[in-house]
Amino acid sequence: MSLVLSGMEALGFSQASATELPPDLSGGAKNTKVVILGAGLAGMTAAYELSKAGYQVQVLEARSFAGGRCQTARKGFKHTDLIGNTQTCEFDEGHYINHGPWRIPYHHRSTLHYTKLFGVPLESFVNDNDASYVYFEKGAGALAGKPIRKGEIAADIRGYTAELVAKAASQGQLDAPLSGLDREKFIAYVVNEGRLTKDLAYKGTEGRGFSIHPGAGVDPGPGKELPPFAFKDVLDSNAWRVLSSVTGYEQQRTMLQPIGGMDQIAKGFEKQVGSMIRYSTVVEKIKQSPSGVTVSFKGADGKKGEVTADYCICTIPLSVLKQIDVDASAPFKAAMEGVAYAPVNKIGLQMKTRFWEEKHHIYGGHVYTDLPGINSITLPSYGWQGQKGVLLGYYMFGGEAARISAKNPADRAAYAVAAGQKIFPEYAENYENAFSFCWHLAEHNLGGWAEWGEAGRKEAYPVLCQPDGRLYLAGEHLSYLGGWQAGAIESAWQQIARIHARVQQA
């Protein structure tokens, strides 16, 4: 695989997903045919790059549309889950929910490579907002069960902590690791970090907010700062659990989203490779011979058919693939059992006003909560100051997601609205309609993403990353960027580079 390293990377200053650009597939395709199973981002990436390099490509897609999990629900979007719940999205024109992938960390350069290449316009996705609330019911003390702005909690817990540390350091109680000039610098840092007074005390700070905001003249004039919460109340609230020095690698504060919905990325790919896709075509069997791969399928009309190619790139999630008749070695098939798939729920709730902006001054970001089955509520990063908005009413995964998904769509919405009402008094009265999606109940997915345990990652994963005969697997499940579009894209890049190298050698 050829990587183009920029100067900064060559010096080791890279801070991004491993691969920046697709592999170089020069040297000729030698009339090679490749059948690709699945028109998600992995499949369409492979189709785009291979066809550009001269390969003959056919893509089989089970759904009637391309994108895989890269979907957006907007007016008219229809979904029937495996237990027979049918929903048709009733959001107003211009409103949507990304019930699959919904944000792009700035360092996912592979995803950003294609958004730029295909001209998919992006906008900021607010992934962190100090003005947003933390709502923890299961803490104790005066702040439990109250929506508290994240910035207030952050200022107070860091301020009080800084006060303790600064005072201890100034009294020589931290002498072991510090001495002389180091100690002075350290205290200066801690004072700065905690916004302490000259006498090393935390008395609150203007950054956490005002009860009367500063303004013109003498009234309101300087305004009135909100006083800090008591240290014990902050500790007891558990709300500090949403804070840490930097975000997790995948949870960067700077994220992006396609304007109009994540499926704009799918549509960008589809414009390039749509003619190669056979839609509503469900794979039933994958058979290999020493010279090729034959895939049997059932088409939209119920008629069965076959495609034969030199190689097969299969992007079908392992949760689904393991139930298909696949001609692969015993270790390869055993490895497919080595992964679990995450139950994942999302629900979009259309609200008739943007009360979170108008009444609470929260523009995007997440409300973190310990309410069962909710986990977080996310305010939309599109349509600022518009009349209406669709917010994400819950984003839950794991066992709790399985629990809520047993409800019918109306009950899921009622559950989500009742939870949100505890945080925003305007929630229920503004609620208009909902669209919920449970990835573990979605045919052709059976889960949100692959969850590799330690043993699975060590034993099963490496087996599946290698081809089995002429069968190559690709998708988020074959990356360490699991559940992200970048994982799907980079996995496809890796596999097409392998196929191309093999074709060149043949």
């Binding site: 495996l82 299961k138 949870q251 059992e337 992964v339 679990a340 139950p343 399985a402 949100g448 969850e451």
Partner: protein, 130 residues
């Protein structure tokens, strides 16, 4: 992020609620936590979620079936972070003795033992996923 707040909160909740629920109602716990996929009939969804009714794995080795629920398997999620030993024992006992199944009861202590053996519960979840 690597915070364990959900785990801590759930442990707290389970500590308060589990003893009463566990003895009372494996059925409602099953319906609550498992029926979205395996269905209240235990028959699953063909081609997607396996039937528990009549399943040899479900009625067989207690440690194997317990570990499967704790850690997940193939399409099935891990429940180790979401359910207490008492809840899991009630659910497993219900599943092993319903819809014609004839497996012996599984005690909370058996679940605890399987949890230790599987080193389950060691890894907590982040604030959000993707």
């Amino acid at each position: 992020m690597t915070f364990a707040y959900r785990l801590a909160a759930l442990t707290l909740a389970a500590g308060l609620a589990a003893p009463a629920i566990a003895l009372a109602d494996g059925k409602s716990l099953f319906n609550d936590n498992c029926s979205a996929c395996h269905q209240v009939t235990g028959k699953g969804v063909k081609g997607a979620f396996p039937a528990l009714a009549g399943s040899p794995l479900v009625q067989g080795d207690p440690q194997l079936v317990t570990t499967t629920v704790l850690n997940g398997r193939a399409g099935m999620p891990a429940f180790k972070d979401d359910l207490s030993d008492a809840d899991l024992s009630a659910i497993l006992t219900y599943v092993r003795s319903s819809w014609g199944n004839k497996g012996a009861a599984i005690k909370p202590a058996d679940v605890a033992k399987a949890r230790v053996a599987a080193k389950a519960g060691a890894k907590a979840r982040g604030l959000q996923a993707h």
